[in-house]
């Protein structure tokens, strides 16, 4: 698609969404400009706040990368939330180990690996349900989300509960040396940033420039015809689910080891669902994903300023995100309709 068309599309989507939200705000007697300034101030105009943006960006981008794989394979992986949760459980399992004798750095890497594994297994089970059980991946994924939520609740209230307590506040904090290293004046672990950048680069490499990525694409675009090229679409879909789940699980691992330093019931923070919106807005393409993630992260982090300085509810940022995605779909639909009309 030509750059001009893409440009026009972006402008149309933003104008449509922003004008709709602005109209709503003006009807309520709130100045959209003030909101915009507040959101911007709350996200990118100070190093610390930008750190908060990054702490949202990292898991969000990880989940989105995972979703890129599954969308490429033509699958609706709605179970990202559950995969994040399972990843978090996987990481916690390792970080709670006593007397391993391993150096903290090794244990942390092991935890991240285990989170990838746990998320991948959860993704694989949705894949199995689809290929073997004939359960549509949307409902299977959704169901597994709730199962994972149940599992984390049970762990927090049951085997992993704090001494003398049964609280939703989460498990005990991990020992300090198992927190990922954060430099003075930072709030996110540089290691996590490096990790997510590597993962993103790998994702775009695999999806855009590898035999495997091409196979995923082929299986996703036309499973029937892909068999003529010696591809087994079911196997490819299954592998895409494992990778997608694994990356989402990694996001859970990062949440546990870098952000909360313990397992909490809402460890997934809704990033799984948010990532779906991100990838949908990106039109299922790889390149725009980190930028949209950043934008969404800015909205999410900046939204805290709304109640503090303007007494406006934070959910406004969710409204903006939703409006962007919906107008994105509307614009895609209109443009496709036009093309069909010709």
């Amino acid at each position: 698609m030509s750059i001009i068309l893409q440009m026009r599309r972006i402008v149309m989507i933003s104008v449509l969404a922003l004008s709709a939200v602005s109209l709503l705000l003006m009807l309520l007697g709130i100045s959209p400009l003030t909101i915009g300034i507040t959101l911007a101030k709350g996200s990118i105009f100070s190093w610390l706040k930008f750190n908060h943006v990054l702490s949202v960006w990292i898991p969000l981008l990880l989940c989105s990368c995972g979703l890129l794989f599954t969308f490429r394979a033509g699958l609706w992986n709605i179970g990202v939330e559950g995969q994040v949760i399972c990843g978090a459980i996987g990481a916690t399992l390792v970080l709670r180990l006593d007397n391993t004798g391993l150096p903290p750095a090794a244990l942390l890497s092991l935890a991240l690996f285990s989170s990838f594994l746990a998320g991948g297994l959860w993704g694989a089970s949705a894949g199995l349900l689809k290929t073997r059980g004939g359960v549509n991946e949307i409902f299977g994924g959704l169901g597994l989300n709730f199962v994972a939520q149940g599992a984390v609740l049970w762990l927090i209230l049951g085997p992993w509960k704090r001494a003398g307590m049964a609280s939703m506040s989460g498990t005990d904090l991990f020992p300090r040396e198992l927190w990922m290293w954060v430099p003075q004046g930072w709030r996110v672990a540089p290691a996590a940033i490096v990790l997510v950048i590597i993962i993103f680069l790998l994702t775009s490499l695999i999806l855009n420039a590898s035999q495997f990525g091409l196979k995923i694409k082929a299986a996703g675009f036309n499973p029937q015809a892909s068999r003529l090229f010696g591809i087994r679409p079911n196997l490819i879909c299954f592998m895409a689910m494992i990778i997608g789940g694994g990356l989402a699980g990694l996001a859970g691992g990062v949440q546990v080891s870098c952000v909360y330093h313990r397992l909490i019931p809402s460890i997934s923070s809704g990033y799984g669902y948010l990532a779906l919106l991100v990838v949908m807005l990106a039109g299922y393409k790889v390149a725009p994903v980190p930028i949209i993630c950043l934008l969404f992260a800015c909205l999410a982090a900046g939204s805290i300023q709304l109640p503090i300085t303007l007494q406006v509810d934070s959910s406004l940022s969710g409204v903006i995100q939703g409006a962007l995605v919906l107008s994105g779909l509307l614009v895609y639909g209109l443009q496709q309709g036009k093309r069909r009309g010709h």
Partner: protein, 318 residues
């Protein structure tokens, strides 16, 4: 806790009433071949608009009307982008879920935790005096009666009226309808809007009757997903869908009673239970269709149904 059976039944009926309305609305939509995934958000938006209008106007009726029209408008958005413009219904529904949820919290924020009108219970004269049954079935608010009546109503509409037959046929084979002079797109749009309206009503049922009030959280979050699951669980049959809703309500309540007996299991687990059950049911359905074993198939057919053939696909007339 000692349980009094009639009051337990009554409690289940009340808790499940909005769920029944939402799931029946979605059943209508899905029977017409459209997936409206936005239930969770629509319910909240309906709850918010219903509460807001009702407390401004001090009329619960106006609140219900507002909620229904809100839900219908959400359905209309899905119908335009997902049915008319042919974008993935799943994608649109998903975006709508989150847009509606946050819009509800945002617009409703000034009204959070405020006093608002509530539906009074309307015991039905004479009937409510019947021992046992009276307490269980005839001493409720209008919402519960509506939800109870909606089940046979929906069933009758789907299986015994001309419009219901058209609705079902569109979900099965829009081409066939087109050949018979029915415009399938119009039908799909209509029932997406009507189904959305019922989901909106379910929202108002929460904020004006079952869990009166508005706030963040309102308490009805997550119900939309359960309603979606119930439609599958109930095999797209209104009666079984409603039965699923009551089953879920019972599980929720039992979770609280079970807290005493199974102290090691957190009661929240019981809220999750319907989902593994649903997946299990889906696997069984699939195995049943694959299997050549007539006995097994027959047994499974009892509590399973097949999705409308065109569910979620976009129809483009030639």
């Amino acid at each position: 806790m000692e349980v009094s059976i009639p009051s337990l039944i009554a409690a289940i009926l009340v808790m499940a009433a909005p769920l029944v309305l939402a799931a029946l609305g979605e059943t209508l939509t899905e029977k017409a071949g459209v997936v409206n995934l936005s239930l969770d958000g629509t319910i909240l938006l309906g709850a918010m608009s219903g509460f807001l209008v009702a407390s401004e106007s001090q009329s619960a009726l106006l609140g219900f009307i507002a909620a229904a029209s809100t839900g219908a408008s959400v359905g209309a958005v899905l119908a335009v982008i997902g049915v008319r413009l042919g974008q993935s219904q799943v994608a649109v529904g998903f975006a709508l879920t989150f847009l509606c949820r946050d819009l509800a919290y945002f617009l409703g924020n000034p009204y959070a935790r405020q006093q608002g009108p509530q539906l009074e219970t309307l015991p039905i004269p004479i009937l409510s005096n019947i021992p046992f049954l009276g307490e269980a079935f005839f001493s409720h608010s209008i919402v519960v009666y509506v939800s109870l009546l909606a089940i046979p109503g929906c069933y009758y509409f789907l299986y015994h009226t001309r419009q219901g037959l058209i609705l079902r046929s569109v979900g099965e084979n829009p081409d066939g309808c087109w050949a018979r002079g029915i415009n399938p797109l119009k039908v799909q749009v209509l029932y997406t809007v009507i189904g959305g309206g019922m989901v909106g009503l379910a929202g108002a049922a929460f904020s004006l009757a079952v869990k009166p009030g508005w706030g963040h959280p309102q308490g009805c979050e997550g119900i939309g997903w359960i309603a979606l699951a119930l439609v599958i669980f109930g095999g797209w049959n209104p009666v079984r869908v409603a039965a699923g809703a009551y089953f879920f309500g019972m599980l929720q309540l039992l979770g609280i009673y079970f807290q005493d007996y199974f102290t090691t299991i957190p009661p929240q687990i019981f809220q999750v239970a319907p989902f593994p059950l649903m997946i299990f049911a889906l696997i069984l359905i699939n195995l049943g269709h694959k299997s050549r074993n007539k006995k097994l198939t027959g047994w499974i057919e009892l509590f399973s149904g097949r999705p409308p053939k065109w569910l979620g696909k976009t129809y483009k007339p030639a």
